[in-house]
Each structure stands twice: as C-alpha cells, then as structure tokens.
Symmetry: C2
Subunit: 397 residues, 2 copies
C-alpha cells in the first residue's frame, strides 16, 4: 500500500499502527491535528519535519487541523518559574501567528488546512467545567509522565497549573474531533493522554504518530532558534545554501529523509555512493539545492549555488576560515562586525559597508544599521581576504 | 488574659499561636472563617465543637464568616469514585443549607455571622483564572499532604480535580479576607495551605486553629451520621438525654469540655469526684442535662430527665436490655420493629402502633409508617416488657 508507505516514512512512533494503517487505507477523510505554540514568530527546518508529515496526509486527501495555542500563550507561566513563558498580549500572539502561518504554508496546502485557535473553546470555559475535565484524569496518569517523574525525583518545582496543560491539549482533540494527532517524539505522552480525554468524552480515541527531532547544524543539539544552529525557512537562498553546506557529513542522509521529499531509493543511492568513497560534498550540495528549491522555488537553487561556489571554488574563500562564536540575540551589522573583529569601531564598520566592502554569505550588505541575528554557518567577508564564519557559542547559559 | 484562655480551650493546633494571641488581645475585630459542606441537612454534637469555638470568637466581639461550600456540592465527584459525593441540584443544596443554618444558629450568634456562598466567587471564574490560581501552588506542596501521600503510596486513585480543592478552599480565605480559620484537626493541611494562597495574593496569611474530632456514642469512631453513633442537635429532649446516658464513662469529661460551656474548674471537679469513687452516672446525668438545656432551653432538661428516669428508675426498663444492631438508612417504624424482632410482620407492627403499644425513647409512636433512622442508644419498647436497644453494627462496609 503506497499510501501507508508515505505516512510511515520517517515516523518514529506509530502507535496503534494497525488501526491508523487501516484508517489511511479505508478512503475515509481523516482530521489530522497538529498543535503549534505561537510564542515565536519564525519556523525553521526542525519544524518542517512534522509539518511535512502533515502535508503527506493532505496530499492523500485528508484535512490538516492546525491548532494555534493562543490561550496558554496569553497566560504564560503564572508561577513565574520560566523566563521564556512570559504572558503575551493578544496582539503579539496574533502577530506571531500571522507570520507563523505565512511560513507554515510554505509546507502545508492552504486549501485543506483548518486553522483553529485554542481560545475558541477555552475562553468561555468556567471553573465547574475545569473541575469536571480534571476529574477525568488521575494524578497517577500525569506523574508517570517522564519529565514530571524526573522533575519530582530531582525536587524541581512543578507548578500545579502544569498538570492542567496535558488535559487542555487533550481537550483540543475533543474540540476538533481529531482522528490522528502528530507531534515530535517529545510530545508522545501528551498525544497518548489525549486518547484518554477523548474516551472520557465518549469519542473514538485518536491515532498518534510522532516524528523525530531534527539535529541542528552543530550536529549535536536539537535545532533551535535560541541555540543559533538553525536554518530558517525564510533565510535567503544563498544563506540557506551556505548554512546547509556547513552540515556535518553524517547528517546528510538524515536531512534528506526528514526535510526533502526525494524517494527513499534515491537517499539510499547517496548513502551507498558515499560508502563507496564518493565525496560527501556532492551529496551535501544536492541536499542544499533541494532545500532551497523547496522553500524558494526551482529557479532559486542555481543562483544560490553559484554565489556559494563563487566564493569557495574560485579561491575567494580560503579552505580554512576562522570561526568565531556569537551570542544569540538581535544586533546591528555594525555591532556584529566589531564583535567579530572585522572592524575596529562602529564608525569603521559603517564606512566599510557604504563602500560595498562587506558581504554576508556572498551578498553585499550596504546598511550597517540593518538588524542581524547570528546563525551558525554565517560567512562574513570584509574586503577581499578577511573571512569569519559564525558558530554557536560552545557553552550556553 | 481571659480572652486567650477562652480561645485556646479545647483547641488542638494553634498554629502561629503568638500571632493569634496578640491579635485576640489587640482589640481588633477579626474575621473568623469556617467552611461547611452542605451535602447533609443535619448537624450533630460533633459539628458543634468547632461551631462552639467560633461562638467563642463571636462572644469576644469578632465576626464569624460561615462559608457554605455550595459550588463543589453542585459538581460532586466528576471521577465517579465516590458514592457520597454525587452532584446535588441547586435546590437540594439550598434546602440543605437552610436546615443546616437553622441548626447552626443554635450555637452561633446570628447577628454577628456573615454567611457567604462559594458560588459567589467561583461561578464566574474562568479557565484562565484557574490556571493563574493553580500556578501559585506546586505539586510538591499538595502531595506532601498526608492523605494524598498515603493514597499515592497505596496506589489509590486520586482524581486530578481533587488537587484543585485545597486551592479553592484557600481562595475562599482570599475572597472573604479571613484573619483566622477554624476547622477540625483533619483540616489542618488545608487551613495552612490557605496561608500560602493568601500570601500569593498579597494578603496577610490567616491564623489557624483546629479543634478535636469528637468520638461518637460508641466511644471509638468519630461521631458521624452514617455510623449511627451521633446525637443530633434537633433530637427531641428525651432522645438526646437517653442517648447521652449511653455514653461510655471515660468520655464524660471530654464531652463536658467539648460540647458544653461549663468552666474548666467544674469539669475538674467532676473528674476528681469520679476518681474518688463517685458514680459516673451522676456526672453523665449532669452532662445530659447541660446538653439538653443548651439545645432545647433551660426548661426542657427536667422533663427529659424524668421521662428517662420513669423508664429506668421505676423499674419499667430492666437493668440489662437486649442490644441489636441496625444498618444505617431510612426505613419505616414498621420495618424497624420487624428487623429488631419486636414484631413478626409489618401487619403486626402496624397493629401494635395503632394500639399505642410502641414507644421510642419513652415516647409513644402511633404511626407505623413514620420514617425512622437508627441511632445508637435508641430504646424501643413494645408492650410493657419487651425492650431493645439499638447499637451501630460492629463492622461496616
């Protein structure tokens, strides 16, 4: 069954596999749920793994139900334990959701995506409903969850509100009548728990499919914006190409499987080729082309490749480029040049830029006051011969 | 300080005692909170221990804040684990609250009692507020609670909604701005937890005072309607007197301390008298008189005593009366007579009653279809010589 092969490709846990397999083969139109957290406005290749799986379902005729977790984003972390979960204003959430959706539809098919917001069903929910909902679950169910158990053992603070979140995520599945839910492997507990919540509400429990967490460009940690080891889906073609060319060789075929849609047979060919002594650089260039094509269209790949090769192949870039760590966070181009030691002052940085002497990933940067957010693999060039490659700091707080 | 002696008398835990002591001595008018559960319409002597303590505060010029837990009574136990916590209709809750209040004011001073209902602040509370409230507490705080810990260790089901109840009870203290909260010793955790909830809301934490749980007429278990070992505050004078005369001797002075307001010096005298060989029957009769006077007025004690003595002293009741166990629950008088072996059929029971041959605690019962709820110590009489005393079953499910 070809449909099933497509669905199962790259999936880690396919719980109750026979059931999902039968549903996919039945010709029935399934409602496939994915919840997203609108606390950041951008998505990167790591996010596209599960989005690509959702697109697979769409291509087979099913409906994607994308749930924007706007409700909890507006509450934040009331215990004040988490700096990253500060409460967001409604406008901020909506702005994030808007850019997020714009980027999501680079992967998903807009026409068969049903976008829902948690606030639709949670805004009017009252304490009495919460108590009834909570009564459907037991403490034991919740604290067998791996991360809760570990935190309890380590005596780390667990706010009581955190116990409500799995319940709420489960209730989302009730509200949208999900047949299937997708998520990263770290979401497995929540996805399974939603099955219990659905059952308690008299619904058929959903099937569950998880996708792997993609390693970042450092080859070690999960891809994440805050770790600076990411490729953003809105990165310019040349930057995207250049960043992917910095990927460790051992991740090339993994990326091919998870962030492109070339057939498994072709991935296997690249794998065999490299084992037989083929140059990983060629495989990596193929991967970089595929990714640029995916997010910028067929015609964008060649110019990006040429810009990259112009620097490296024609000897403009030395084989060994000095690497420098930059902390995360927005700054201006002028600040970055000073931090990287490519300019002695902001004044000098501005002058260099105006004279068209500054390039980022092969493209000239004239505005020294333009904002810049460091990303591992970024290649800065000043004048003809000074190059610095940005890497994520070795240790982060 | 006489005021403090009155407050501290009979109290088990007086947490942060110096603080409460100072508050009581300061002349400031305190808001003293007591929460009651309107799941049953009647109160018994066990309830009057904490109510009496609340009255002490009133007599010293403070305000009693009586909170009727109508909100959770209407929700019941959504996990369906508890048969006794079925959801009640609003009318049922209000009817219970009405009879309950009627009885409560046999102890409390109506004029300085502020009656509040949980629904006042919980009806409009939304999920977002619940999450914020829950975020003020940690899982560790809750599961260190004795009963939760034991149930977790015993693998007994704990519904997630149960974790919300201490929070809600704590929020009650915020809503009514309690300075002090009273409760039975089994409530100590909740009362202390409320202090944290108040602090999180920027309020001064309440002081906490607990009172002992009163043993029932069996001298073993906590007084409870469902165990049939209780004296109801609405029991008729003769029944009340008769039941108290069945109290085990070793509880006489404990009852004097907890359910009468005679001075400690007098209790000590009775104690010394019995140690010196005095008849406990005299002390018990004094206790029974005091309780009847308390709930039925000065003039009610003598007739009750006489009715009791008429049976026992004038030889109408044998010294040794057969005892029979009756399961709890409402039944008709006719059913009870058959169960107790005092009638061979309901028909016979009806005939005996019509002929004025049936007495309960010295009073003639003519209507065999009248409802009857067994209570330990009840004395049934059929004809001149057949007596049976009701006792609680030895084992209960």
């Amino acid at each position: 069954m070809l449909e099933w092969e497509r669905i199962a490709r790259g999936a880690v846990n396919v719980e109750v596999e026979p059931h999902l397999r039968e549903a996919v083969g039945s010709g029935r139109k399934l409602r496939v749920k994915l919840g997203i957290d609108p606390s950041s406005p951008d998505i990167h290749l790591g996010h596209t793994v599960v989005l690509g799986k959702l697109r697979d379902f769409q291509d087979l005729g099913h409906t994607a139900v994308l749930i924007i977790g706007d409700f909890t984003a507006r509450i934040g972390d009331p215990s004040g334990q988490s700096a990253t979960r500060r409460p967001l204003e409604e406008e901020e959430v909506e702005a994030n959701a808007a850019t997020y959706l714009e980027q999501v539809f680079k992967v998903l098919d807009r026409d068969t995506t049903d976008v829902r917001r948690q606030s639709e069903w949670f805004m009017g929910m009252e304490l009495a409903d919460v108590i009834r909902l909570a009564g459907k679950a037991t403490l034991a169910q919740i604290i067998t969850r791996d991360d809760f158990r570990k935190r309890l053992e380590a005596n780390t603070t667990i706010g009581l509100h955190e116990l409500l979140y799995p319940l709420m995520q489960g209730y989302d599945s009730v509200a949208v009548r999900a047949d299937v839910e997708l998520g990263g492997t770290d979401q497995l507990f929540n996805l399974l728990f939603a099955r219990d919540v659905q059952r308690e509400h008299g619904l058929e429990p959903q099937d569950v499919l998880t996708t792997p967490l993609l390693e970042g460009l450092d080859g070690k940690q999960k891809m994440s914006k805050s770790l600076g080891n990411y490729v953003g889906v809105t990165d310019a073609p040349a930057a995207m190409y250049g960043k992917l060319m910095s990927l460790p060789d051992e991740l090339i075929t993994r990326y091919m499987r998870l962030v492109t849609d070339i057939p498994e047979s072709e991935v296997a060919k690249w794998e065999a080729g490299m084992k037989a002594g083929g140059n990983p650089r060629d495989a990596k260039a193929a991967l970089a082309r595929m990714v640029v094509q995916r997010f910028h269209g067929e015609t964008a790949a060649s110019p990006a490749e040429e810009a990259f090769q112009a620097q490296f192949k024609r000897g403009e870039v030395p084989d060994e480029v000095e690497e420098r760590a930059l902390a995360e966070g927005d700054r201006t181009v002028a600040d970055a040049l000073v931090e990287l030691g490519l300019a002695s002052s902001k004044g000098e940085a501005r002058r260099l830029a105006t004279q068209r002497g500054v390039r980022l990933n092969g493209e000239t940067v004239e505005d020294a006051e333009a904002p810049y957010q460091p990303s591992s693999g970024d290649l800065w060039q000043v004048g003809k011969r000074r190059f610095v490659k940005v890497v994520a700091p070795a240790e982060r707080s």
